[in-house]
């Protein structure tokens, strides 16, 4: 029953997002586009964190693999869009399999630190391989064959499908396997689950989600710089997921959507925007460990009696 409620609320939310541009300025549409991509990233991240119990502090590397893979294909190599998308996926898979193989030997904080280290390695590579990545100056002139208004709907369509797919994945035997490994890995192993394989699959699927978000992010601004590979962006991915709530796909999605609005408005009204962000996070962790979606759920339950 409650599972259905999550699906319905997701569909409702996506429906609202579909009509939102009709009532929005171009600026809000831009923020919504970023919000959708952040939401997608949070959903992907949460498959690994919320559902498989592995906290990665390096997910910026997959967002960057997607964004840089696509941009290098389009701008540096002059490939067509399909080939560039293929290149981006290939790059993501290589990064995900290599770092996954090496870091999934550990869990908990050791896993988090390893992912952080690998992500910083990727960041350093992006800075150093200037001829390919543009170094600190990044890549600009990435084509976007449509206006922002239309692009929003392209992003929405892809994000909606992938968020619903995630909702479905966590209900399949595979997704239940994620959760079994999260809750008790030795018990999961004892019933015949290949724990390290389940973790790797979750890690790679999660990476692909981030990669798609990154691929869609690059044409939004038609330029990218290495800040999307820096550890602070990995932290943002963690923070927005926690803000939204880690127990549900919808929670993470909402977290990404609202993060961008909190971020830019905190900044607009005070130079201490980082403090505001930190305060919001601290309050949420203390008072609502299940995030915004947990609060909504509680309110709904209370209203229903």
């Amino acid at each position: 029953m409650r599972r259905d409620a999550e699906l319905y609320s997701l569909i409702l939310l996506l429906g609202v997002l579909a009509v939102a541009p009709l009532f929005s300025t171009q600026y809000t549409v831009r923020l919504l586009t970023v919000g959708l991509l952040y939401g997608l990233a949070a959903v992907g991240f949460n498959l690994l964190y919320g559902y498989t119990g592995l906290l990665s502090f390096g997910h910026a590397m997959f967002w960057s693999a997607g964004a840089y893979g696509l941009s290098i294909g389009l701008v540096r190599l002059g490939l067509d869009p399909l080939q560039s998308i293929g290149l981006a996926f290939l790059l993501t898979l290589v990064v995900a399999l290599a770092t996954g193989y090496l870091s999934l030997r550990h869990t908990e904080i050791y896993f988090a630190m390893l992912t952080l280290a690998f992500a910083q390695l990727i960041y350093a590579l992006i800075i150093k391989l200037r001829d390919v990545t543009g170094g600190d100056e990044g890549i600009y002139g990435i084509p976007r064959p449509m206006g922002l208004g239309e692009y929003y709907y392209l992003v929405l369509a892809i994000v909606a499908s992938l968020v619903l797919l995630a909702w479905w994945i966590v209900r399949t035997p595979l997704g239940l396997g994620f959760q079994a490994v999260r809750d008790n890995s030795s018990r999961a192993a004892s019933v015949g689950l290949d724990v390290s394989r389940v973790r790797l699959v979750s890690y790679v699927i999660s990476a692909l989600y981030l990669s798609v978000a990154g691929m869609l992010y690059a044409p939004l601004n038609r330029a990218i710089t290495p800040d999307i590979a820096f550890w602070t962006f990995s932290a943002i991915i963690v923070i927005m997921t926690i803000i939204g709530g880690v127990r549900r796909v919808a929670g993470a999605f909402i977290g990404g959507l609202i993060f961008i609005f909190i971020n830019i408005n905190a900044m607009r009204f005070t130079e201490f925007w980082q403090l505001i962000l930190g305060l919001i996070l601290a309050i949420l962790v203390y008072l609502a460990p299940e995030g915004v979606s947990g609060i909504v759920e509680k309110v709904v339950r209370r209203v229903r009696g």
């Binding site: 600026y27 831009r30 800075i127 100056e137 600009y140 002139g141 710089t225 830019i264 900044m267």
Partner: protein
């Protein structure tokens, strides 16, 4: 203080002769300060500020974006102070053609939100002009957003990569701050004029990113052209915010370099210099040229007591608060005094360039109004900026129409103690050349696009 005074004076005299030779070589006086005839005409036609036809009622909104917080936060606070100063002055005179200026701003330190914040200022808050950007990466990244989506003028006041203006014609993007290339070129010319025969091996220490690489490409490229017999050592690049330069200093010492070029800036430039002095680097390095030393905040961080005697240290930058000399160019004097009054600091270059950006807006709007007799549309405004000359604290700034690059006098000066007159070390024996002598033609750059 007086210990090394005499030898220093001796030095200056010798160098002075060299500088004079250099100046003669360029066919101009040592100070090419604009004479009184070129003094800025500060009050154009718009005396009767009210009742001009075709002027919108609501204020003109200008948005600025700089690093306002974090390790580079002083760039933003200095730039903001200068922008506020310019806006206060203009609003006191009744605004631009009677239209008051209002400001909004954003923090470039939120790296992921730079473009969203520019869009916010323009699309949500109605900013008609954007001023700012410290990071070259951010400036390049903003090109598609500004040129195609927002289509509002962006006046860059700090980011110095030649790629912004010299790698393609931009419609809405301008830069009023001097870029890297002419400064590095003049640095090479000075070495040729003053130290030919005295130096043989050239080393480089610069920040480990595009700006550092490009600076060395330009300086070494030009110097090689001028003095082909020099030996150029492998450049050293250091991460931003390095705290211990010890191994790099040893490396330079052991390399036998006698000329050291550097594009280190801000805190890095100060830290390196102090450690180099402490470790006796200047026993072997005879000439040190730092393209970014002419920044008052960097000099303050170095401190008078750390300026050694008997070393040829040259610094440059995009503005030096004592040039044009205050006695012949009152605009600079007033600016320095007002800024000092407002902030307690001598203005660093970001202050002068952001200040002149606001006046460029004013001058362009007035210029367009004269021909259109109405408030200019964006395209009219852009056209009016092209070829405009704006009096600024650094002297008149000419905005070259082809590449939208602001041009003004380029300088290098010799480092000396400021005391007792100034609380910070200063640059003296200035070598100044007009832009025509060192700025490449539009779209010509030694940096690969």
């Amino acid at each position: 203080m007086s210990g090394g005074g005499d030898s220093r004076r001796e030095f200056v005299k010798i160098a002075g002769a060299g500088v004079a030779g250099l100046a003669v070589g360029y066919g101009l006086g040592m100070f090419s300060a604009p004479g009184p005839a070129e003094e800025p005409v500060e009050e154009p036609v718009e005396k009767p500020v009210e009742g001009l036809p075709g002027i919108p009622d609501e204020p003109l909104k200008i948005g600025y974006i700089y690093f306002m917080t974090g390790a580079l936060g002083t760039y933003g606070t200095n730039a903001a102070a200068a922008i506020e100063l310019a806006v206060e002055e203009i609003n006191e005179m009744g605004g631009i053609l009677g239209r008051r200026i209002e400001l909004t701003n954003a923090d470039e330190a939120d790296r992921e939100r730079v473009l969203d914040n520019i869009a916010r200022m323009v699309q949500d808050e109605g900013a008609e002009i954007i001023i700012g950007l410290d990071s070259s990466g951010d400036a390049l990244k903003a090109i598609p957003l500004i040129e195609e989506e927002l289509q509002v003028p962006l006046i860059v006041t700090h980011a110095a990569t030649p790629k912004l203006t010299e790698c393609g014609r931009r419609k809405y993007i301008f830069r009023v701050s001097m870029y890297e290339e002419p400064i590095d070129i003049l640095g090479a010319e000075i070495v040729k004029q003053l130290y030919e025969g005295e130096v043989t091996r050239v080393a480089n220490i610069g920040p480990d990113y595009a700006y550092g690489y490009d600076s060395w490409t330009i300086f070494s490229g030009k110097l090689q052209e001028l003095m082909p017999d020099l030996e150029f050592l492998d450049p050293i690049y250091t991460p931003l915010f390095t705290t211990d330069f010890g191994t790099y200093i040893d490396q330079i010492k052991n390399s036998g370099a006698d000329l050291l070029f550097s594009s280190l800036w801000g805190g890095d430039a100060a830290t390196f210099f102090k450690q180099a002095v402490a470790k006796g680097l200047f026993d072997s390095v005879k000439v040190y040229m730092n393209a970014m030393l002419g920044a008052t905040d960097t000099l303050e961080a170095i401190g008078d007591e750390n300026v050694p005697d008997g070393v040829d240290v040259w610094g440059s930058g995009r503005y030096w608060f004592l040039y044009p000399p205050h006695d012949v160019y009152p605009l600079n004097k007033e600016f320095v005094e007002k800024f000092l009054d407002k902030t307690g600091n001598y203005p660093p270059y970001v202050a002068a360039t952001s200040y002149v950006a606001v006046y460029a807006v004013k001058a362009a709007i007035e210029r367009a109004y004269l021909s259109l007799e109405k408030w200019p549309e964006v395209d009219d405004f852009v056209e009016a900026l092209e070829g405009l000359t704006v009096p600024g604290p650094m002297g008149p700034v000419y905005i070259r129409p082809e590449d939208h690059q602001g041009l003004y006098d380029v300088y290098w000066g010799r480092l000396r103690r400021g005391g007792p007159e100034y609380p910070i070390p200063i640059l003296d024996d200035l070598v100044v050349v007009p832009p025509a002598k060192v700025v490449p033609k539009p779209f010509e750059t030694m940096v690969s696009c």
